[in-house]
């Protein structure tokens, strides 16, 4: 598996650390309430199809990236730096 780091180019997945769904970018306000925080922390859909997830280019440039890929076809259709993309 290869991931396109926006800074380094295509790299082997061994260079990356996998975090999980990109919903982690949408951090609720401190007082958003238990429901919002529960969704943010724990509730995840198990999607068959296109997903956005987070990877850390740990053995590379150190960038956190949001990768769009398809869990059925394994096609990686894009990646962008998370810097500046969060709410």
């Amino acid at each position: 598996m290869r991931l396109p780091c926006p800074l380094c180019g295509d790299r082997d997945r061994r260079e990356f650390y996998y975090q999980g769904h990109a919903v982690a970018l949408d951090r609720p306000a401190r007082d958003a309430g238990d429901g919002a925080w529960d969704d943010y922390l724990h509730n995840r859909d198990n999607i068959a199809g296109e997903v956005r997830d987070l990877w850390h280019h740990e053995a590379g440039c150190g960038a956190w990236i949001e990768v769009t890929r398809n869990t059925v076809t394994h096609v990686v259709s894009g990646a962008r730096l998370v810097r500046g993309t969060a709410k």
């Binding site: 951090r27 394994h74 730096l81």
Partner: protein, 979 residues
């Protein structure tokens, strides 16, 4: 039998080798199989289940029968295919699965029992009593069945791994692959051409075809020479592409030295090749025909007979018969006749065929029986003219050719049935960016393959934005492939399909009869295709039999799933570089050598190696040394290398705000040149890590993390900075390796430091939790007045290159003052006496509230974990909270991992009140101490609880107390006098 002057290696030097202890002579360029056949050795192994005598079936990596063991002891290599093993001088091969000898195999009795050993037999027979399966049946079955054995000794051979990248990977170097590589290379693409054989050319090496008016093998050698001369082409022989993976990644096994006796270089190299495009030119594999007793030594595929004849100059028999449903039969006959080998008959299942040369032909023919216990002696043939026996020692059979579709199915693709060639062909687009050309997609003529290779490469280079140079298709045979269905022949005797797993036609029919009608069920019921050859030459025929037995067509029946690897790959090759230090590299502190010199045993802390204790002469147990070291720190001074703690340098105008966000407590209020303890939460409100952070300037902090969590914290800071707070102008870098840091702890710590610092320090200028730059022998270092022992203590750091020398200096000074160096055991005792936590306590399931730090979670600001840490469930009194424990009877032991119960209650899970996390014997207080978590513990100081360790059989009544056992007011660490 060798035919003089025949074969591509006709001029090869003689090579001496042995098989089962008998010495034979082969010829340079032979495979072991070719050399055995040249010496008329037909019987080479016993089958897996019935121990039937078996011979060489094929001439390639798909071989199911001719498996041998090479080498002995640690170098023992079982299940080596004789058909791919190249001969070298002194090669010693042994047969497998036979005892006492290949010719008299005692377990051949299984074959007589075969009516009782059919498919599914184990499942039905060995059901009762249940306990017998593991203890009785399975061990017996496992001993009786099987192939080669491993040595049981650690493999000392070396293996290697490597990575490669290219524009175009061409898989297979037959006519299609050679042309594809040439066209792609001429267009300027960076090309890798890989082939599993030792020599490139594919079937051109095994046939008598001409290409461009020349011998096919010579033409291939020319193309290979041209490719070799090009800078943008890498040729990889002896390299099997084993799997196709995501984003153009391929696994490949290169057999580096299996063809030599050399042991210095790696045996194999496992490659990961990343290709923008790939062209699969893997060719096709010939399938046998399932006729009665079709497994006797001497019966082989027709293509293999031609390969042995044309490539190695070996006639596999003196009087050869041929049985086929396609034109391969006649090509084989013509080649044999031309070489002067007697062809006793061609049995063609088709009606409308003529002989192409001087040999007898039997149309509408079928082989209905064979004879010969350890090798083929005769066959019985039914044909248009009746039935007859023919004496023959070699039968070449061809049931048609299966395109090698395997790699195209590795990403869930399913092949498509093609009725013209009666086989499966790859489905377009099964692997992204892969094009299939030549026989691998059912184009079987040489001309067709050459043309297809060119066309595929032209299309591929076009997608890469390159211009293909015009190439003429070399002239070559273009005759059509004519085949008629023939899957099995009725008659008395078993009709073998999977030679390696001993599956025959009746087994498949039984599976269908017992309703294992799905192809995947049939496979598992019969074990068809589940051996090391993965059914390369039997799966399609087995499907056809199943289709017939279930009244469906082959396309509706479908195939089983082809999975990587295409050919067996040794675990050693896949795991190359990942043993020992390759698996777990060692991180050494700058004091490593000095520590070893002092005889300290090392313990692992992640990848780091840290001293456990420093034994003095006369000390016989670790506890003696540990107690002395603790006393030394409490009474004089001790030195400890603490460089393994993570150090992160944080700078920028928003450094303070950043720290306020990642720590639950506040750092913006910290004065310059002061240090503060910080607690870091996860977003779910649990504790992630702790450590001290020093402020070295308005916009400059140095954070320390625990040794274990250094990497995790760095990743977390990257996350927070990039994803959550990109608004903060802050930069940070891990400097763990850049600074060597030593604890100097004990009442005489300042006195000691003043012997090494260029300018003396005192209690006023360096109060508790002060920090700043210091000069040590002209070197700028840093000094932090912090304490993990509870004593008046410092940590001093210097650039790592000065670490070794500073450590030796500090140790020498400490020893001169009656102190010395201490290790992890003493460090642990010192911190437990003071109730300081480590990851034994903050193990991922505790909150700040649980460790008594609930108030540290500042509610004046947001921080990671703030919202979640305030959930009611994380603040309940009923939660298990950090407390200390002392044995009521001071002589009794405490153990880590023990659980806590109300005195008198049954020590069972339902009554569990908590658990012990850290334990030590305190030489300072004279008894055991423990830290642990107890339900509502903060309110239970003074109570007694029962500590029960079921594992070690220890039961101790304990007093619950505050977790700080020693100097609760911290007066020793805060010492200010200048004395």
């Amino acid at each position: 039998m060798r035919i003089a002057g025949k074969g591509l290696n006709a001029g090869g030097a003689p090579v001496s080798f042995s098989f089962d202890g008998t010495i034979y002579e082969g010829r340079e360029g032979d495979t072991l199989a070719a050399a055995l056949l040249a010496n008329d050795v037909r019987l080479v192994g016993r089958s897996f289940k019935y121990h039937r005598p078996r011979g060489i079936l094929t001439a390639g990596s798909e071989e199911p029968n001719a498996l041998v063991t090479l080498g002995t002891h640690a170098a023992q290599d079982p299940n080596i295919r004789a058909t791919t093993q190249e001969l070298y001088d002194g090669l010693a091969a042994r047969s497998q699965n036979a005892w006492p000898s290949l010719k008299r195999d005692a377990m051949a009795v299984n074959d007589l029992m075969s009516p009782f050993l059919s498919a599914g037999f184990y499942y039905k027979t060995f059901m009762w009593p249940k306990s017998f399966w593991e203890k009785v049946y399975e061990p017996i079955i496992r001993r009786a069945a099987g192939l080669g054995a491993i040595s049981g000794v650690t493999n000392e051979d070396t293996y290697e791994k490597a990575f490669a990248h290219c524009d175009v990977l061409v898989i297979g170097a037959g006519p299609a692959g050679l042309m594809a590589a040439l066209v792609a290379a001429q267009a300027g693409a960076d090309v890798i051409l890989a082939d599993e054989d030792s020599r490139m050319g594919g079937r051109l090496l095994a046939e008598t075809y001409s290409v461009d008016g020349r011998e096919g093998a010579d033409w291939a050698a020319d193309i290979v020479a041209r490719l070799m001369a090009m800078d943008n082409v890498r040729l990889m022989t002896r390299t099997t592409i084993t799997g196709a993976y995501d984003q153009g990644t391929f696994g490949a096994l290169e057999r580096v030295t299996h063809h030599t006796a050399a042991t210095q270089a790696p045996r194999e190299c496992f490659w990961r090749i990343v290709a923008k495009r790939s062209i699969l030119c893997a060719g096709a594999l010939e399938r046998p025909i399932a006729f009665p007793n079709n497994d006797r030594p001497g019966i082989m595929t027709a293509g293999a007979v031609r390969a042995y004849l044309n490539r190695w100059g070996v006639a596999p028999g003196k009087s050869v018969t041929i049985f086929a449903n396609n034109d391969d039969a006649h090509r084989t006959a013509v080649d044999l006749v031309e070489a002067g080998v007697k062809v006793a008959g061609v049995i063609d299942s088709r009606a409308d065929v003529q002989a192409l040369g001087d040999y007898p032909i039997f149309t509408n023919g079928k082989v209905v029986g064979t004879k010969g216990r350890l090798g083929l002696e005769s066959i019985t043939v039914q044909h248009s003219g009746g039935t007859r026996d023919i004496r023959t020692d070699c039968l070449a059979m061809s049931g048609g050719w299966n395109p090698t579709v395997h790699l195209t199915c590795h990403m869930n693709g399913r092949p498509t049935w093609n009725d013209d060639i009666l086989s499966f062909v790859p489905t377009d687009g099964a692997i992204p960016d892969m094009t299939v050309a030549g026989a691998a997609r059912g184009v079987f003529s040489t001309h067709g393959c050459l043309e297809d290779g060119i066309a595929a490469a032209r299309a591929v280079v076009d997608t890469l934005g390159l211009d293909a140079v015009a190439v003429d298709t070399p002239s070559a045979d273009d005759s059509a492939y004519r085949i008629e269905p023939l899957w099995q022949v009725e008659g008395k005797g078993r009709k073998w399909l999977d030679f390696q797993n001993d599956v025959h036609v009746k087994d498949i029919k039984l599976a269908a009869q017992e309703n294992f009608r799905s192809v995947e069920h049939m496979k598992r019921y019969t074990t068809q295709g589940m051996a090391t050859d993965q059914g390369k030459n039997s799966n399609v025929a087995a499907l056809a039999v199943l289709a017939d037995a279930t009244g469906r067509g082959i396309p509706e029946t479908g195939t089983t799933t082809f999975r990587p690897p295409y050919a067996p790959v040794s675990i050693a090759a896949m795991g190359a570089g990942a043993q020992g230090h390759g698996f777990a590299p060692e991180r050494h502190m700058t004091s490593h050598q000095a520590t070893l010199d002092r005889g300290a045993p090392m313990i692992e802390a992640g990848l780091w190696y840290r001293p456990s204790y420093f034994p003095k002469q006369g000390e016989t147990t670790w506890l003696e040394s540990c107690n002395r070291e603790v006393g030394m720190v409490r009474n004089t001074v001790g030195i400890c290398d603490v460089s393994t703690l993570g150090k992160i340098d944080i700078q920028g105008p928003d450094a303070a705000a950043f720290l306020d966000f990642v720590y639950c407590n506040t750092f913006s209020t910290l004065k310059e040149y002061r240090v503060r303890y910080g607690l870091m939460l996860r977003e779910d409100g649990h504790v992630m890590d702790d450590g001290t952070t020093a402020r070295l300037g308005a916009n400059h902090y140095v954070m320390t993390t625990t040794t274990a969590a250094a990497g995790q914290v760095m990743k977390h800071l990257d996350w927070v900075s990039q994803a959550l707070r990109p608004d903060l102008d802050v930069r940070f870098a891990s400097v763990t390796e850049q600074w060597a840091q030593f604890a100097v702890a004990g009442p005489k710590s300042r006195d000691l430091l003043n012997t090494v610092l260029d300018a003396d320090i005192d209690g006023e200028s360096w109060p508790f939790m002060a920090c700043g730059d210091v000069s040590i022998g002209g070197i700028v270092g840093r000094l932090f007045r912090i304490s993990f022992s509870g004593e008046h203590a410092y940590e001093v750091s210097v650039p790592a290159r000065f670490g070794a020398s500073l450590f030796r200096q500090l140790c020498a000074q400490a020893e001169a003052m009656g102190g010395g160096v201490y290790g992890m055991e003493a460090l642990n005792v010192l911190r437990i006496e003071k109730g300081f936590i480590t990851h034994s306590e903050i193990h991922g399931r505790v909150s700040a509230f649980d460790i008594g730090f609930g108030r540290m979670v500042s509610q004046k600001k947001d921080c990671i974990g703030n919202a979640a840490s305030q959930r009611p469930g994380l603040l309940e009194a009923e939660r298990e909270q950090l407390v200390g424990f002392k044995p009521v009877d001071k002589a009794e032991k405490l153990t880590a991992g023990a659980h806590l119960f109300v005195e008198g209650a049954d020590a069972v899970r339902l009554n569990d009140q908590g658990y012990v996390t850290s334990v030590c014997h305190s030489p300072t207080l004279g008894h055991d101490l423990a830290l642990g978590f107890l339900r509502d513990g903060a309110n239970r100081h003074g109570e007694t609880v029962m500590m029960v360790d079921h594992l070690r059989g220890v039961k101790t009544l304990c007093e619950v107390c505050h977790p700080v056992f020693f100097d609760p007011d911290n007066t020793r660490a805060k010492e200010t006098s200048n004395g």
